[in-house]
């Protein structure tokens, strides 16, 4: 499983293990216009939430999409499920271009692409029973499964680890984790081929999170459903996804198989992200990981930096980074299918460095210039 995601020009001879492509996204863009001006309001700018994202998801494959808030990962999910209309780019699902498909054209596809939302409290209608919530997608799409809809719902409830007897209960009678299971059951009702899960576990407590992650993993493996798993938690994504794309300010900066991204990242931002994850010190021996501390927050997507968008926070940035946007390509030394958009990539290792990268001025001042603390 490797090179099903790459620039079109680079598509080499297909690996035999490469899964058939289910979803292909090219140059996907979403700009939210900003209005202002005087005396008549007009479009004065745009929030470039998603700006040219390329991505593929194979049949039965789980792809992780990670990034910090404002990187456009959720918008990407909503564009793919066509809950939002893309500004530009192309979405191809099972060979069919659905970028601007009308409601009617979309109908057969809608049932095959489902979504699971972050907040298990607001994404379930409090006035409907669990039964009718899960049944609704079948009704809307006029699907009558063998044995009737109710029987199907009870099967689904059982599948997601809930008691089928709870058919007539209301969402408020369930805990957060159970509600998320209801959300999963609803997504499964139409036997989808692709599920876009937008932060499906981040609202849950740690002990409950694992329950839902495991459930999704079973669903993915046993039913062979492809997943686009959108999350900010790198550890959860690592657990769930075979392939991972890292987004920054509306662009994919690095994508590759799990091992490449988590153990041999090339993009400085991926390095910074991984190094920022606070790790449990299980053996009590401290760590030999690199320490990278960026400065400030992610810049505004209204006027993103020119060239490479990460350059304003990057320790390797040079003039070229401002003038020239790095293409998302395979770098020498990277594995097949591991693409990075960087002019000056890092070494593919996470080992601690001779000197920590500390960009933050306050930390620099407190720790003494340049010198690493530990």
């Amino acid at each position: 499983m490797s090179d099903n995601l790459t620039l079109p020009a680079q598509q080499g001879p297909a690996d035999t293990t490469t899964p058939e492509t289910l979803l292909e996204v090219e140059g996907l863009t979403k700009h939210f216009p900003i209005y202002g001006g005087f005396p008549i309001k007009r479009k004065v700018g745009a929030v470039q939430a998603v700006d040219g994202v390329d991505l593929t998801v194979g049949v039965g494959e789980s792809v992780g999409l990670v990034g910090e808030s404002g990187c456009g990962k959720s918008t990407t999910g909503r564009l793919i499920t066509r809950l939002m209309e893309p500004t530009a780019g192309r979405i191809t699902y099972a060979g069919q271009d659905i970028t601007h498909a009308s409601r009617k054209q979309l109908a057969p596809v809608r049932s095959e692409i489902q979504m699971i939302f972050q907040d298990p409290y607001s994404s379930l209608n409090p006035r409907q029973t669990v039964g009718s919530i899960i049944k609704a997608p079948m009704e809307v799409n006029g699907i009558e499964p063998a044995g009737g809809r109710e029987k199907k719902v009870r099967e689904l409830l059982e599948l997601v680890g809930l008691n089928p007897e709870h058919y007539n209960r209301f969402p408020h009678e369930f805990s957060g984790g159970q509600r998320q299971r209801i959300g999963v059951a609803r997504a499964l009702a139409l036997e989808p081929k692709l599920i876009v899960a937008d932060e499906p576990v981040s609202a849950l407590d740690v002990s409950i999170q694992a329950q839902v992650v495991n459930l999704l993993q079973e669903v993915q493996k046993e039913l062979g459903i492809a997943f686009l798993f959108i999350a900010h938690d790198l550890a959860v994504v690592r657990h769930f996804s075979q392939r991972v794309a890292v987004m920054y300010l509306g662009k994919v900066v690095e994508v590759g198989d799990r091992d490449s991204i988590y153990n041999h990242p090339r993009h400085p931002y991926t390095h910074a992200l991984l190094s920022a994850v606070p790790e449990i010190d299980l053996d009590g021996e401290g760590e030999a990981r690199e320490r990278i501390r960026l400065t400030g927050d992610v810049p505004s997507p209204i006027s993103p930096p020119s060239g490479c968008r990460f350059r304003t926070r990057c320790w390797k940035a040079q003039d070229k980074c401002a003038s020239e946007e790095p293409p998302l390509v395979k770098l020498s030394g990277s594995r097949e299918g591991h693409l990075t958009a960087c002019h000056f990539p890092e070494e593919p290792t996470l080992q601690g460095r001779a000197q920590d990268v500390v960009m933050d001025p306050a930390l620099k001042a407190l720790e003494g210039d340049g010198a690493g603390k530990d």
């Binding site: 808030s69 957060g176 010190d281």
Partner: protein
Amino acid sequence: MTTLTKTEDASAPTGPESFLSVRDLKVTFSTEDGPVKAVDGLSFDVQRGKTLGIVGESGSGKSVTNLTILGLHSPRTTTVDGEIVMDGKELITASEKELEQLRGNKMAMIFQDPLTALSPFYTVGRQLSEPFMKHRGASKKEAKDRAIEMLTKVGIPQPKTRFDDYPHQFSGGMRQRAMIAMALMCDPDLLIADEPTTALDVTVQAQILDLLKDLQQEFGSAIIFITHDLGVISQMADDLLVMYAGRAVERGSAREVMSTPKHPYTWGLLSSMPRLDSNLDEALEPIPGAPPSLLTPPDGCRFHPRCAYTDLVPGNQCSTTRPPLGDGRASACHLTAEQKQTLFIDKIQPRLR
């Protein structure tokens, strides 16, 4: 069913230098559905210049405990029992006036969401200056100088101009920095940080955590750091208290608790959490069920309905008797020390590597 140290209240179990000591704290909210025992017999100590981490899930009572230390619980609906002694001063019985003198001065707090925790109506500078003027009797000018000094220290660029900005003009990370600066204005001895990085992105979180650590070295404050994130707490805490359903279930140095946890709930937390270095062939091991309602908490050990090891305890102790939490390195569980050790080595540890 009292847990511990009722008899030796005065002398703290972890030594004489403990700066804050909480003994048998009970916090009960009266609600329409009945009393909620949010905190039920909690004891712990914080030492000068050290960080105590309190880890637990939502509803474990960790935030309530710390609002109670500051005396910020609603007196109308809350009853508080037990003892909270800070630097020789009993806080539960202290008057509102006395508490006002301490808050923001000797003890300060950093809240989870800096967007809602800072007033939208006043400039950051004004909000920073207020406690300094109140507690130090400083003039507006002096307070401004101090505020700019602190803003510089926490890494706000152009602090002189940012002084006059409103919180909504700051980014999320900058707001939390301003919040930290505000808490440190009067150089407090105790800093309570309630999930200070939960609302932040991971790269910003890393900056803020390091900043807190570095500032602690400079200011020497004791910190109570509350979080649900085991990774964060592992980075931050010297000592650790694991809370479940209003009670402490395990205590020890952070290193001990992480490397040789003794309570089944701690085991559950550790093995349900995905890590960057965990073995991917091993599925996560969630804790079954959900945390109990504190309106009708289970008898005995509150964790027993979700615990896999109750069969190993003779009789039905787990469901009848509250397991005591001893002094120092301890866990509140009826399993014997040998059982805990064998279970951990045989069942839990292999999962964590």
